[in-house]
């Protein structure tokens, strides 16, 4: 029988082997090209359809409540949503509750606007075709303020331009005037948007979250408080698929597939060993 020290040592070695395998599983699909077709999941489809049926010129509020740590999962989602808006001539209004999220908002808006002429043949200008509001403190209070007076809550946009008189915000006095909102969150902000935004000011709300938080949102889908949702990288890949714009998420799907399969194999192997050991133990006894 191994002593506890020996057990820890053995586990450390096994752990290092696992780390190496996972690293290989993540990197491999980027070297060897694999073709793995997939179809969009139910809730991603609902989200896509909710946005797709909006009339051109509709205002879609996008709240990017995540910081760079969640960039891998949520940035592709942000890009896919912005692309969809620009494709359909919807007017996205982009904001964040996270101070570290401002950079993400700016990067996504500028990137989507820059590629728009090439992708859809449409020029998109800040203040006219989209509004980048940036960050304000307040959390739930900010949402309540926006529900009363959106331009009062954000007197200036990210580029220091006043929101009063901004073409992209024409006719948008409060959250009641927006046609849809989507919250992409790495934290608890979806619930805050539901309680203080959707439930009070009555607009369709969609959400996108990191895969870790995704299970938390199912109750709100059943109660129709969310029209649809994108869970983790898979959600982003679904959206890219429906938009027919393969991006980082679609690429990431292969790495995720290989890693998941590797994990499943490892768990099965570990269990097989465990059961064999137990049977052997019983026989010895």
């Amino acid at each position: 029988m191994a002593t506890p020290q020996e057990q820890i040592k053995r586990m450390t070695i096994i752990r290092h082997i696992i780390y190496a395998l996972v690293a290989a599983a993540v990197v491999l699909p980027y070297i060897v090209k694999m073709d793995m077709p997939f179809s969009a999941s139910k809730w991603s489809k609902k989200m896509y359809e909710a946005i797709d049926k909006l009339e051109p010129g509709s205002r879609v509020l996008l709240s990017f409540d995540y910081d760079p740590a969640a960039e891998a999962e949520l940035y592709p989602m942000s890009m896919a949503l912005l692309r969809h808006c620009f494709k359909k001539d919807l007017i996205p209004i982009v904001m964040t509750h996270w101070p570290d999220g401002v950079g993400m908002c700016k990067k996504a808006c500028e990137e989507a606007a820059a590629e728009s002429p090439k992708l859809w043949g449409k020029e998109k200008i800040s203040g006219r075709d989209f509004a980048l509001l940036g960050f304000r403190v307040g959390g739930a209070d900010l949402i309540l303020n926006m529900g009363e007076n959106l331009k009062g809550a954000f007197t200036k946009d990210f580029y220091d331009e006043p929101t009063a008189g901004m073409a992209a915000l024409e006719g948008v006095d409060s959250l009641r005037d927006i046609d849809m909102a989507v919250d992409l969150a790495a934290g608890i902000h979806v619930q805050v948007w539901i309680a203080y935004g959707h439930d009070r000011f009555d607009f369709p709300l969609g959400a996108g979250t990191t895969a870790v938080i995704a299970p938390k949102l199912y109750p709100f889908l059943q109660t129709d408080q969310l029209v649809g949702f994108l869970g983790g990288l898979r959600g982003a890949a679904d959206y890219e698929l429906m938009l027919e714009q393969s991006g980082k998420a679609t690429q990431g799907m292969q790495a995720q597939s290989v890693t998941h399969v590797l994990l499943i194999v490892m768990i099965v192997v570990a269990n097989a060993r465990f059961i064999v050991n137990r049977l052997r133990g019983k026989q010895e006894a």
Partner: protein, 224 residues
């Protein structure tokens, strides 16, 4: 020690009851009250940051002074903090009192974008490795419950990736595994989550009452 026990308890009770009542009265003054409270909380939090910074630096000073193992890391805390404070104050020549234009890229932004962000992302990405090792180490079919959990976890994990559709397609059922994953998430998982949430909400009310009525006061550092 009435100032350490009685006064805080009175404050807790009065503010607690007012905050509770705020939910049920439509007076505009009630909203003003809530706003004031939120502001106070933020102001106190702001001062708290000084306490925090003092505590952090004090701890690292003592580490360096005592030459504890790894004291060089403590020195690094000072280098990092000083560096960011200096470039923050300098603010690309705009000085501490003025904000640089939002389009400008200051050295502070550089430090944030190219040091803080990659470091955070690195720590976050370690999660993938830890998840694999934790799953390997602990996911065992020890009894019936654990076996059920294991099977459910494997199905959800598999159903979430495109590989499952390729495998499903071999049997002519491309959407089979994703559908199973969705079913597990939407029903058994949701039911369990709801149960936990309900219990938790009741627990929260019960704990709030204990605090409100001064039965629970260990958070004040005051004994029973």
């Amino acid at each position: 020690m009435w100032y350490k026990r009685t006064i805080p308890l009175v404050i807790v009770f009065v503010i607690g009851v007012l905050a509770f009542a705020h939910n049920y009265v439509p007076y505009p003054e009630a909203d003003d009250f809530r706003e004031h409270m939120t502001k106070w909380f933020m102001i106190i939090g702001g001062f708290g940051l000084f306490l925090g910074a003092y505590s952090l630096l004090h701890m690292h000073v003592s580490r360096i002074r005592r030459m504890q193992p790894g004291w060089a890391y403590s020195a690094f805390v000072f280098i990092g903090a000083a560096g960011m404070i200096i470039v923050g104050l300098w603010n690309d020549g705009y000085g501490p009192l003025e904000s640089a234009p939002s389009t400008a890229k200051t050295w502070f932004d550089w430090g944030f974008d190219y040091v803080q962000i990659p470091c955070s992302a690195t720590i976050f990405s370690i999660l993938a490795f830890f998840m694999a090792s934790a799953a390997f180490r602990t996911f065992r079919a020890r009894n019936v419950n654990a076996a059920l959990l294991l099977v459910a976890a494997l199905l959800v994990m598999f159903g979430r990736v495109p590989a499952s559709e390729s495998v499903g397609a071999w049997f002519g059922q491309q959407g089979f595994f994703p559908k199973i994953a969705d079913l597990i998430m939407e029903f058994p998982n949701l039911a369990a989550t709801r149960g936990i949430l309900l219990g938790m909400s009741l627990g929260a009310i019960s704990q709030s009452l204990r605090i409100l009525f001064g039965i629970e006061r260990s958070y004040m550092g005051v004994g029973d």
